[in-house]
Amino acid sequence: MKRILRLMLAAAGPYAPQFRRTLRISVAAGLAQAAAYACFVPLLAELTHDPVDTGRAWLWTGLLATLVAAEGALRVRELGFTYGYWHLVTEATRLRLGERLRAIPHQELARRAAGDLTSVVGANATAAATAVSTLSTLFVQLVTVPVVLGLVITLLDWRLGLVLAAAVGAALPLVRRVQRASNAGFHAVDEADAAAANRIVEYVQGQPVLRATGQAGADSPRLTGVLTDQQHTQSAANRSAAVPLAAAQLLVRLALVALVAVGAALVLDARLSAGLLVAVVVTAARFAEPLSMAAVMTKLFEMSEAALARVDEVLQLPALPVEPGGTDPKGFELRIEQVTFGYDGQQRPTLREFDLTVPERSLTALVGPSGSGKTTVTRLISRYADPQQGTVRLGGVDLRTMDPDDLLRHLAVVFQDVYLFDDTIRANIAMARPDATDAEIEAAARAANVHDFVERLPQRYGTRVGEIGSALSGGERQRISIARAILKDAPVVLLDEPTAALDSESEVVVQQAVERLVAGRTVVVIAHRLSTVVGADQIVVVDGGRVVQRGTHGELLADADGRYARMWAAQQAARRWQLPASDPV
């Protein structure tokens, strides 16, 4: 209870004061409702009395009407929060989450699946807002009214109170069992669903081979098992929660009959007035439905608590720390000094005592097998995470003392996987410098060989990338991302071999774009094809997280047994490879 209240207050964020006030209003409304039901006691005592004292009956009716009106007025105010703040709480939560995601270490971000974060900012944020704006007040109502009325009934006749208490006491453990069972059921069903989903994707992607081998169709062996398994899991989960739920609901209803029976016996013994019994039966009848609803509601509360907790967890993530003592970098020399770095949860460090100096306005290529640590080097330069030992400096300044925004202002990064936003081509280029003029954007686009093909598009720079997504080739997308980097005009450029996965058709134009991007800057490039970096000022061969060789292409080739020379020979052979022609007939 305390935990969920704390989570709700945290999720309410800037609207926490309004939220608190609403909770108080809810309690007041619940009390008014309970008091209104309590009014039935004297009222029915009058109405079941022969002859009826109309004066007093009208008096109690008037009081009842006043309480109903009071509750209504309070509910309207309560609704004011539900209607007036749900979207504001959603907005505030999403914006706070967005800020947080920008501020936390990138490593933290990478550790979480993109899908998970998406659902935190998407569905969980709205669920949290719903919990705050709607479920909280519903919960207050579900608790206050029965508690107050139970007390009233007990005060009127403790034996009837006992009957109710016994029923509720027996139902509560059942409700808890419903909770546990539906939780377990949820997880089991989730797992079965995920397994089935994976198998369905497999089935779709594997159609050619499955059809060829007679494994496709309604009885596909790849699907049948997982689908029936899914059915059994769902059915079992449903039953395991439904049985205790039904038992709890039955108990509440039986309590009503028991109340009538015990009450009747008491009236016959003249230990209870018949009028009072009527009042008790009427109020108790009002609870059969809400109480069984409470059992159903536990599932909802459970889900919102999970959503609240997930939102809170992301909001609580610590931001990338900035240590004091930062100055402006002098020049843009990059220096990695004795850096040891391992990813979270990895036993062996990815980089070990790694040293690298990239002089200002020079080009350094990182080469080596996959998994050797090349990408990690560029990540540390953009402060993806901080090294466990050693320092990374830009212009002599330790990155840890630089404001992350300042650091990123000096960097332009071109990734191997191009990410374009579903917006116009202009906006995709301009995001690097929102105040750039159209002329500047066009100049960057020309330099990146984007201008010509954009001019051929129906709406030119105003064409939305999403609408023509598949119409843009890999090379064209890559060039747009390079135009973005050119427009940014940052002194340091990090490249993850941007031509690796392109076909020869687009290679030349992308190559030109890259040349214009790197000209005159401090550049670190990850290269898979050695031929693309023979002209680098420095080639660094990385293996097992260490620098195993460094030098210019010529120097490295001179060591014929060296790692570089062997890689070079292998790649040259692969380049000369040809598809075997048909056997000569």
Partner: protein, 606 residues
């Protein structure tokens, strides 16, 4: 909160109708629901009479009435429980049946159609849309029984027992009806705006999270956070607009669609009626117990409308997928005589597109055992040619023949056994390496599996690098292997299938530069002795091909051998010159102008 679209509901009931056994059980569930509702009301009537009997002159313990109440209660409860159980189980059966029908439809429709729908969308329909039916099917029917029957039975019972109090309740019923109408009124414009804003904000969230590396390096908080922020704000505005129109009905709902106002009206009406001696204590008691039932049924009915709403869009999508026309199977199937491939005057237009045909008058003959390369700019039709051979789609005009037989006259499974495809993402199933290779020929021996892996340059890494060799679990879709390893396992599978025709896309085959040499070896193993059609990107690899066809805008503009085409000095010769220059490209030393010089030259060449 809109009323369910009739089209959606029709689709939903049509889906249920495909399974008569399920439909019968659902009808039973509805009947049980009706019984439950009637019995519940009867129970309250008995309870009211039990209490009312105490006001007679010589009261005795109301044995009959309490027993009646207990019996009615147990019947009501049992019927409701049974109704839910029957409906849930029937619904689960329906779901499995629908998924199997969908699997069948997928296995019969053109492969190209499957590819176009994409595995993500199909997964959403087969899993999520089918699942969304459950709430509507399993919860709705028992509820129709209890939620609609119970309030009607309550009104009837009250009318029989004391018509004057029924009149008092009927004063409230119109209010409830108006509320229901208000609440379920479709604010179509606001709803559409809300849905659009919701979609945009979800897309922006996905973008913001997935594009975070770009967001972080390319925006200082003004542009792309701006994108995210503005879509978040737009959503807020859409919600605000919707609330502005629905707020009044929400308030009315909160104020009147609760029991207390009805009870107040009943009490107020009872005061003069009791004074005049028109109604008995029992009448009053019964009215107070069941009089609020019609009002209380309003919100569950609203909830039901929402459930149906959620299900109906899915029902439409499921129906569409089920009704996708299957690829026709031949009545008199024939077997290909050899492994030659012939395209005769092939014209092809993608279904549903009215623009230029993707292929226009293609004539191409690949003799058995020959290697044919397709080259040309992206969008020229290379992949389309490749897809027509395994009959991903049927040609619009002309014919595709394998071994002299039109592919439309070859049974689907036979055709796919004849053609090995290496042009999609490497496809692996969750299971062991061995299972993945064997998928192509379930009866292959261990020795054959190993031989295929060796030919695909996969045996060594399987034995040396994987923890359990051929028994290593590859993870969902092969996630525990590298791209190059996945590729070689799919090639081993193709080799094991021993299909005489191979269709290969060089770009996807060599997507992993790290293991290029090994994959080259695997491809050589696959193509040896087979008829090969390759979509070539690096011209250097196909200079020895028996035949090269240059495509542009859906037509073959040149064809011949490498030397002949170079001599012709046409389109191919220009592509070759360009390829040569690109292959020799290197990043120039920073600050020099060498690169620029080369650039200008290339531009001139274009």
């Amino acid at each position: 909160m809109a009323k369910p679209e009739p089209g959606g509901l029709k689709a939903l009931s049509a889906l249920v109708a495909t399974e008569p056994a399920v439909r019968t059980r659902l009808r039973l569930a509805a009947l049980l629901g009706v019984l439950a509702g009637c019995a519940a009301v009867a129970g309250f009537v008995c309870a009211a009479y039990a209490t009312g009997s105490l006001f007679t002159d010589d009261p005795s313990f109301p044995v009959m009435q309490t027993t009646g109440a207990l019996a009615a209660l147990l019947i009501s409860f049992g019927a409701r429980w049974l109704a839910e159980h029957v409906a849930h189980e029937a619904s689960y059966d329906l779901e499995v049946a629908l998924r199997r029908h969908l699997a069948d439809a997928l296995a019969r429709m053109p492969l190209g159609e499957v590819q176009r729908l994409s595995s993500g969308r199909i997964k959403k329909i087969v899993q999520d849309d089918v699942k969304a039916l459950h709430a509507a099917v399993a919860d709705a029917l028992p509820f129709v029984g209890s939620g609609i029957t119970q309030p009607i039975a309550a009104l009837l019972a009250l009318g029989v027992v004391q018509w004057r109090l029924l009149l008092a309740v009927l004063v409230v019923v119109p209010v409830a009806m108006v509320c229901l109408a208000l609440l379920t009124r479709d604010h179509a414009a606001q709803r559409a705006r809300y849905n659009a804003a919701n979609e945009r904000v979800n897309a922006a969230v996905v973008e913001f999270v997935q594009g975070m590396p770009v967001v972080r390096t390319f925006d200082d908080g003004r542009a792309s956070v701006g994108r995210f922020t503005s879509s978040v704000r737009e959503f807020t505005a859409a919600v605000a607009a919707w609330i502005a129109t629905s707020r009044a009905s929400g308030v009315v709902n909160q104020l009147f669609v609760v029991p207390l106002p009805t009870l107040l009206v009943l009490v107020a009406a009872s005061v003069p009626m009791r004074a005049a001696g028109w109604i008995s204590t029992t009448d009053l008691l019964l009215a107070l117990m069941i009089g609020a039932m019609p009002v209380e049924a309003v919100s569950p009915l609203m909830h039901l409308a929402n459930l149906l709403n959620d299900a109906k869009a899915g029902a439409v999508r499921i129906t569409e997928l089920l009704h996708t026309p299957p690829l026709p199977e031949p009545e008199h199937p024939r077997e290909p005589a050899d492994s030659s491939v012939t395209l005769t005057d092939v014209t092809f237009r993608y279904p549903g597109e009215r623009t230029e045909p993707a292929l226009d008058g293609i004539d191409l003959h690949i003799p058995a055992g020959a290697v044919c390369a397709l080259v040309g700019p992206s969008g020229s039709g290379k992949s389309t040619v490749a897809r027509l051979i395994p009959r991903f789609f049927d040609v619009t005009a002309g014919s595709v023949r394998i071994g002299g037989v039109d592919v439309r006259d070859i049974r689907g499974d036979v055709l796919l056994r004849h053609v090995a495809l290496v042009f999609q993402e490497p496809f692996l199933v969750a299971g062991t390496v061995e299972e993945n290779v064997r998928l192509a020929r379930p009866d292959a021996t261990d020795a054959e599996v190993r031989a295929a892996a060796k030919a695909a340059a996969a045996h060594d890494f399987i034995v040396d690098e994987l923890p359990d060799g051929y028994r290593t679990e590859v993870g969902e879709r092969g996630s525990r292997l590298s791209g190059g390893q996945r590729q070689r396992i799919t090639i081993a599978r193709a080799i094991l299938s021993d299909a005489p025709v191979v269709v290969l896309d060089e770009a996807t085959a060599f997507a992993d530069p790290e293991s290029e040499a090994a994959i080259q070896e695997a491809v050589a193993g696959l193509t040896r002795g087979r008829t090969v059609l390759v979509i070539a990107h690096r011209l250097g690899t196909i200079t020895d091909a028996d035949h090269i066809a240059v495509l542009d805008a859906g037509r073959i503009v040149e064809q011949g051998r490498h030397a002949e085409l170079l001599a012709a000095n046409g389109r191919y010769a220009r592509l070759w010159a360009r390829h040569d220059r690109a292959a020799d490209w290197g990043l120039a030393r920073a600050g020099t102008t060498e690169g620029r010089a080369a650039t200008t030259e290339t531009e001139a060449a274009r």
